[in-house]
């Protein structure tokens, strides 16, 4: 089930809205050094039963985006504008109380480091029970039984014993599973996983990714997975959004992004990674330069100082910001680049792909 033509890409234009619909999100933090534009005009959508992978490096704005969806920015520290629609309800305009009620029940988040995300003074069971009882009017006994059931569901051995253990008594992989149990305890419709496996060993990572996939199928949730690891999104994501400097650079299905990428930044990411499944290359192909300052982002296209093809835009990349628009293949593949689509496809085919 790929993005169909009836449901046009969630950037401008009429369309039926997705379950989670983010439109022109801007999150700016006023600081002493200046206004940090962490997210600067981002739009995407996720449906139930589908997984969106948001890929980007540090400073791309991916974590700030997910925290905005969950309403976790302290009021007053961030200027948030745009729309975040969860099943039609606008989260930005909703009161703090309404958002709090939705958190846990309709949307839940898994964080990168479970040790710091869970409270060290309460048992894992207590933390799951607390979440469950806030959203459901049940007795402690029933809530505890549910907690044990959730721990079992995520593959924690001896859950009736482990439910009374503290987070520090779990191993890394187990803690992450416990956090997933906590997030899913109220059967949320949207699950956001922010770098859920970065802190884990690769064999444990594989187990956790399998778990997320299985649980999504079972609960039919919409899943947003945020990561810098292209391997992880290839495993899990149906659709992929590539972010850079707080904006979307490319958006499409996983097949489109991996097999027919059209943005120079995406090409750069694919070229930077050594791959187990290809022949060993002589040299990696890094992207020159460093990620930009978010206070003084480069004018025009934020990627242009690092782009090897900037000259092809006739100076436009330095002055005008490219919008994330359809690439012309008519299948929901959107790219934010001033180069003509035909030229981009030719460069990919003739210059980039053979080098990978």
């Amino acid at each position: 089930m790929s993005l169909t033509s009836e449901r046009e890409h969630p950037v401008g234009g009429a369309r039926s809205s997705a379950f989670l619909d983010v439109r022109d999100l801007r999150v700016h933090f006023p600081t002493d050094d200046g206004l940090v534009k962490s997210v600067d005009g981002l739009s995407f959508g996720v449906d139930r039963g589908r997984t969106l992978g948001i890929v980007g490096e540090s400073g791309s704005g991916k974590s700030v985006t997910s925290m905005s969806v969950m309403g976790l920015h302290k009021r007053g520290t961030a200027n948030i504008s745009g729309e975040i629609l969860l099943d039609g309800a606008n989260l930005i305009e909703a009161s703090a109380e309404d958002v709090r009620r939705m958190r846990g029940k309709r949307m839940a988040m898994i964080f990168q480091d479970p040790l710091s995300a869970m409270h060290p003074y309460y048992t894992v069971g207590n933390q799951i029970i607390e979440a469950y009882r806030i959203h459901n009017d049940v007795s402690k006994k029933k809530a505890r039984a549910h907690a044990v059931e959730m721990l079992d569901r995520v593959g924690i051995p001896e859950p009736h014993r482990r439910v009374d253990a503290y987070p520090h008594q779990y191993s890394g992989g187990m803690r992450q599973r416990a956090m997933i149990a906590m997030a899913l305890s109220c059967d949320p419709d949207l699950l956001i996983a922010d770098e859920p496996t970065t802190a884990l060993d690769v064999t444990v990572q594989a187990q956790i990714l399998d778990l997320i996939r299985d649980l999504q199928r079972e609960f039919n949730s919409a899943v947003v997975i945020i990561t810098h690891d292209l391997g992880v999104v290839a495993e899990l994501a149906d659709d992929i959004l590539v972010m850079y400097a707080g904006r979307g650079m490319e958006y499409g299905t996983a097949e489109q992004i991996f097999n027919e990428p059209e943005h120079p930044y995406t090409w750069g990411l694919l070229g930077s990674m050594p791959r187990l499944d290809r022949d060993r290359s002589e040299r990696l192909l890094p992207i020159k330069g460093t990620p930009p300052s978010l206070i003084n982002a480069p004018p025009g296209c934020p990627f242009h100082p690092r782009c090897a093809f900037e000259a092809n835009t006739g100076g436009l990349a330095q002055t005008e910001r490219p919008d994330l628009v359809a690439s012309g293949t008519g299948r929901g593949h959107n790219v934010a680049c001033h180069m003509a689509p035909v030229q981009r496809r030719q460069i990919w085919r003739d210059e980039i792909k053979p080098m990978l």
């Binding site: 070229g271 990674m273 460093t290």
Partner: protein, 350 residues
């Protein structure tokens, strides 16, 4: 009971062997009570043998708790071994006192994982990179400042940033500062402890290319410690896979990646997510159950038997030695993949 690896000569060292490690053990004691009696020990490294040849890159791969970082620290004598020996250029450095080690520190250097905590935030870049000269009492030709600026240029930094502080640089740039510092005394052997794990993907590629160029230009020998199998494949000549303080497999890079023999190595490679959507369904996955056991109380005999899908009873009673099953390819397993069984199967574990 492991076979000592020798370069090519029948006895002791080859001229090409820079470093030879035999039976290296490091246990960290756990003490309890008023009298601080030792009640247990973290068996971080539990008997490993290694040889590092001049000019090559030997990778140490494994997950958390396998002992690879501790091994790296032992090789630079940041820790003292509990037992076993480390021989560098023919000299046994296992138990040298700090004063005796000091001149050797010119030859053996280390690059750390975290570019944020490995640089003193109160020192300028110039002071950081010139510290080795100061500590060793060496004045390079042309003066310290010129030497430092040349080093900064070598690693791709602007020599004019001599007076800047670490916080003014990005993670990738800080790692380059660490590399510049390491190169100051023209070392022979560099231990790299996860040098690119903390960096973004595009910066990782820059730093990996830099490390490769430097190795070629300056004839360096690397021991590259990492958990990222893709990066390891790209940089290494030989790879040693560690699990719970032991080397379970050691082979040429190509041999290891095309024909891994130890079940743990096979599972490790199978677990690495590859950026290819087609492989989502096609790939044969091996899923290991559970987590790595604690190094305080490792499983008896073969340490991997608790998670191994091929484990038989003999795996719980007899520790498999590191045998050379193919030229240049050693495995510690009774029932390796891609190779004949070393023992008769005597019943799988329940």
């Amino acid at each position: 009971m492991t076979v000592t690896e020798t370069g090519g000569g029948a006895t002791g060292q080859d001229a090409a062997d820079l470093l030879t490690v035999t039976g290296l053990v490091k246990h960290f004691p756990i003490r309890q009570g008023l009298l601080q009696r030792q009640v247990a020990a973290v068996q971080a490294v539990d008997g490993i043998d290694l040889t590092v040849k001049r000019g090559e890159t030997l990778a140490l791969v494994g997950e958390s708790g396998c002992g690879k970082s501790t091994t790296g620290r032992l090789l630079t004598r940041l820790e003292e071994p509990t037992s076993g020996s480390i021989v560098f250029e023919g000299r046994d450095i296992s138990h040298l006192r700090p004063g005796q080690m000091r001149p050797l520190r010119r030859d053996v250097q280390i690059i750390f994982q975290d570019p944020y905590s490995s640089l003193n935030p109160r020192h300028t870049v110039g002071k950081i990179v010139s510290a080795p000269y100061r500590l060793q009492g060496i004045t390079p030709e042309g003066g310290v400042k010129r030497a430092v600026q040349a080093l900064l240029e070598t690693v791709g930094l602007n020599p004019e940033h001599y007076n800047r502080y670490p916080h003014e640089f990005s993670g990738g740039q800080r790692q380059r500062i660490g590399i510049a510092r390491t190169l100051a005394l023209k070392p022979k052997l560099i231990i790299l402890d996860e040098p690119v794990s903390a960096l973004d993907v595009s910066i990782q590629a820059q730093v990996v290319n830099l490390l490769e160029d430097l190795q070629e230009e300056l004839n360096l020998t690397y021991v590259f410690i990492a958990h990222d199998l893709s990066v390891v494949r790209h940089v290494s000549n030989r790879v040693a896979v560690m699990y719970l303080g032991k080397i379970v497999e050691i082979a040429d890079q190509q041999s290891l990646y095309t024909r891994p023999m130890h079940p743990y190595t096979v599972a490790l490679m199978s677990a690495v997510p590859v950026p290819d959507t087609k492989r989502r369904t096609e790939r044969e996955r091996i899923r290991l159950q559970g987590d790595v056991p604690s190094p305080i109380n490792p499983p008896p005999a073969c340490r991997f038997h608790t998670r191994c899908w091929k484990a038989q009873h003999v795996c719980t009673t007899e520790e498999p030695p590191l045998y050379e099953l193919e030229p240049g390819h050693r495995v510690a397993c009774h029932f390796p993949e891609n190779a004949p069984d070393q023992r008769t199967p005597d019943g799988p574990l329940a």
